[in-house]
Subunit: 502 residues, 2 copies
């Protein structure tokens, strides 16, 4: 059964158990694993590693594309296998260890990990572990539902373990476009000028001698955990749609807009979902992850092409997609994340980027990662790659969290991931702040008036007025700037103590 | 005399006085002026504007390449001509008005202003005012000592005023390389793959009908105000040289390093100066401004080519350069700042970038702009363009300021311009912190040990230890994080009160 998927016959005797394959990975090694936003991760070798760690010392540096599914990060963290982790994660157990200082987490722009590997800025990959649909007659690896950093890991590693997942339909072949920038100083322009353009190969071209082990698996990706749209996210989508329509009417955008990017998660997914009923047509995506909304937009005929690095769907849509690939094949492409997130291409294409903020401050600086300014949530992911180089950089968030005890609009964010320079538009369920061409004081008035929740609007206005009286390009009362966060930490709410007493 | 500089004869009758030319600029207009780091600014029309403002309402939006010399920003600010200003400035009077909230200052990545103009994200330029050496037979404008945004302003504006500066030698012709990305969605790759490559024209190609006035001037650029190297900056240069040498010996860099960028100012200039006595050879620069150190490196034979957007020199070096252009002509090139700072090219070339920090925090976030977190110094300039896309992003600063009362290494920067993701190396006179591949807690230990001044080292270590005990990826004591800045503001020192009493 699996032999038809290993088309280079001399590799057939590389098929081993997950435990045998995992034995190639030794204590202290750097391991590059496939997987991007829960899609296309390895399904067996990670668990074999965790089992082995129970009987011998085994601590590794684990690099991936982005987050893993199937509880891999949880199991590896519990088994204490992960000493260092990069460039992204989203697992509760691993997160706890990161925030306890037990796992060193290097939070990176997703376009940069491979750049740093290739130039020797970070330790080289000893072993790559990559999920595949099949191996070609020349030993090329055909990835599954994500490309992420798999291609680069496989090409840069000394040894490669391939997991062939029989649950992944062979029809995924042809969906990938594998290409990289060459090593400096001889790098040429990347020839990509449109989301639908193919510039590479449909498989990862490696020397088959590097394939040290092949493991056969049969397990699905973990489903997306994005929640369905609710009143708040629908309202955010509505404000953004109205704004884009206004830009089209003003002649600043065509009805096809610009290529779209949307970050992973509930709000960005809902915003894209909102485009199903929009008047825009012939939309294209150039994103890092395709979610349910992408499939809905393709089904609705709104979207004519989608390029990304992974496909992460809820259980129902996953089945529909994976077993009807012929319906989508000509309108989808999966690329290495170095290409999906590359500044060169992003700046050239001029995207409308939609990413989720944990909190924004009144001047439009965005915190995407650190709860309370200190505790890592998931990581910056691709948001910096996209926001910095966007035609129009949009950040979305609900105006409050924790039942209203946390305002997502604060005097000063407690951690900065995106500076005001990289934030054009902020949208909450209350409205949209168009910050283009505005100075910080103007940004503050717009954000407070349009985005803040009414219960925090006057408090923010009061802070801004008192700070402005002291002067500055970006007025602040430093002794008070982070007091909202301290208030939530110590009293469970950002509302001031006297308001509670009243 | 001037007629030989206006080679399209029918433009001869466009020559008018500065006052007549300035009359084209009316209240409420957006004006794009040449000038980048004090080089190639207009010498007469700005003053005519200031004079007119004494007798009639005249408030404009002023865009430039970067900072202006010749007190232009001072005079225009005093005359209340500037309502809005972008994307950079460095004048004390204008700065005062910006920080008082009287002038709206839009601080931008220098690569982005023209991108935003071209796509209609910010208000269009009504009139461009551009300094030139000459006008070609076809009406093309030959810039002087900077290109900056002049070419784009001239091409996008409805009307163009050209100032022909007779003090600028005609030999500057041929030094420029004018080229732009085309408007999206039809943008092609920018073909530049090496600092020395020419991809454009030696003049700004505009419809000569747009040239509405020509003013003849004869005035030098303001000299650079960079200070000569001192013991501290020499020490910073030494640490960086040692590190680069180590990288070469480890095979991570060639003896030609990677193309160099250095920000404007005393420290970066001194660091480059330090390379004169280094073992590196065949160095190249791909920077935004060429300073005295560039000329010294060329003279010393260390540097084989330098590409930038302007030349800003001290008085003595300026004369030497301007009247010996034949010595330098084949080894220099001036480009539009959209090209000198373009993410596509920077990421492709893989620069070593050297920029100055106002302050860094223990996790390696950098404040380049806001004194005390609130008051604008100059602006982010190109530092974000370069640091984000660098092969190796270096930030330099002296470890203390104000005679030791301010530590440049603080628990938390009071304003973030560059996040930890974009900062690889920090250097002070005490040493160098190599932050590549490190998690925030590791970054903190390295920065405190290597970069902090001894008088603040224990205080920083104490903060970090107490914060770490509370947990987090990026541990902080939010109630204390900005207290050092408050201490300096209220007591004149970041040293704690009890230390002063002791």
């Amino acid at each position: 059964m699996y032999k038809e998927r290993i088309r280079l016959a001399r590799l057939h005797d590389k098929v081993v158990s997950a435990d045998e394959a995992a034995a190639l990975i030794r204590d202290g090694m750097t391991v590059g694993m496939s997987g991007f936003t829960r899609a296309g991760d390895c399904k067996e070798v990670p668990f074999a590693l965790a089992r082995r760690a129970a009987t011998e010392p085994l601590r590794i540096t684990l690099m991936t594309g982005a987050s893993l599914g199937n509880d891999i990060d949880r199991v590896l963290a519990e088994a204490d296998v992960i000493a260092r982790r990069l460039p992204f994660q989203s697992d509760a157990t691993l997160r706890r260890k990161i925030n306890a200082g037990e796992v060193m987490f290097i939070d990176q722009h997703l376009s940069e990990t491979v750049e740093q590997l290739r130039s020797g800025q970070i330790a080289p990959v000893d072993v790559a572990v990559v999920e595949a649909v099949a191996i070609t007659g020349q030993g090329g690896i055909i990835p599954s539902t994500s490309v992420g950093n798999s291609a680069s890991f496989a090409m840069l590693a000394r040894k490669v373990i391939v997991e062939i997942n029989l649950n992944m339909p062979l029809e995924l072949e042809g969906l990938h476009d594998i290409c990289f920038p060459v090593q400096r100083p001889h790098r040429q322009p990347i020839p990509l000028i449109a989301p639908e353009q193919r510039i590479g190969l449909p498989y990862i071209p490696i020397d088959p001698e590097k394939i040290a082990a092949i493991v056969i698996t049969a397990k699905d990706d973990s489903p997306s955990n994005a929640l369905p749209p609710d009143a708040g996210t629908r309202s955010i989508a509505g404000h953004l749609n109205d704004f884009l329509l206004h830009e089209v009417r003003a002649g600043k955008l065509s009805p096809a807009l610009q290529p779209l990017q949307a970050g992973i998660g509930t709000i960005a997914n809902a915003v894209l979902h909102g485009l199903v009923d929009s008047p825009f047509r012939d939309l294209k995506m150039y994103s890092e992850v395709l979610q349910d909304s992408t499939i809905e937009l393709l089904d609705a005929g709104r979207l004519s092409f989608a390029s990304a690095s992974s496909v992460t769907l809820t259980r129902e849509v996953y089945r529909r997609f994976l077993y009807n690939l012929d319906r989508y094949r000509s309108r989808l492409l999966l690329r290495p994340q170095e290409i999906s997130n590359h500044p060169e291409i992003l700046r050239r294409l001029g995207l409308i980027t939609i990413n989720t903020a944990l909190e924004c401050d009144i001047y439009g600086n965005v915190n995407s990662t650190h709860v309370g300014g200190t505790h890592m949530m998931n990581g910056i992911g691709g948001s910096g790659d996209f926001a910095r180089n966007a035609h129009l950089s949009v950040f979305v968030t609900k105006s409050v969290a924790k039942g209203g005890d946390v305002s997502s609009i604060v005097p000063m964010v407690a951690h900065v991931d995106h500076t005001e320079h990289d934030v054009d538009i902020i949208v909450t369920e209350h409205g949209l702040a168009d910050l283009r061409g505005l100075a910080p004081r103007e940004r503050a008035r717009t954000i407070i008036a349009n985005c803040a929740d009414p219960q925090y609007r006057e408090l923010l206005g009061d802070y801004f007025r008192r700070a402005s009286a002291r002067g500055g390009q970006t007025p602040h009362l430093l002794e008070e700037a982070l007091s909202w966060h301290v208030g939530f930490r110590d009293r469970g709410t950002m509302q001031p103590a006297q308001a509670l007493a009243a």
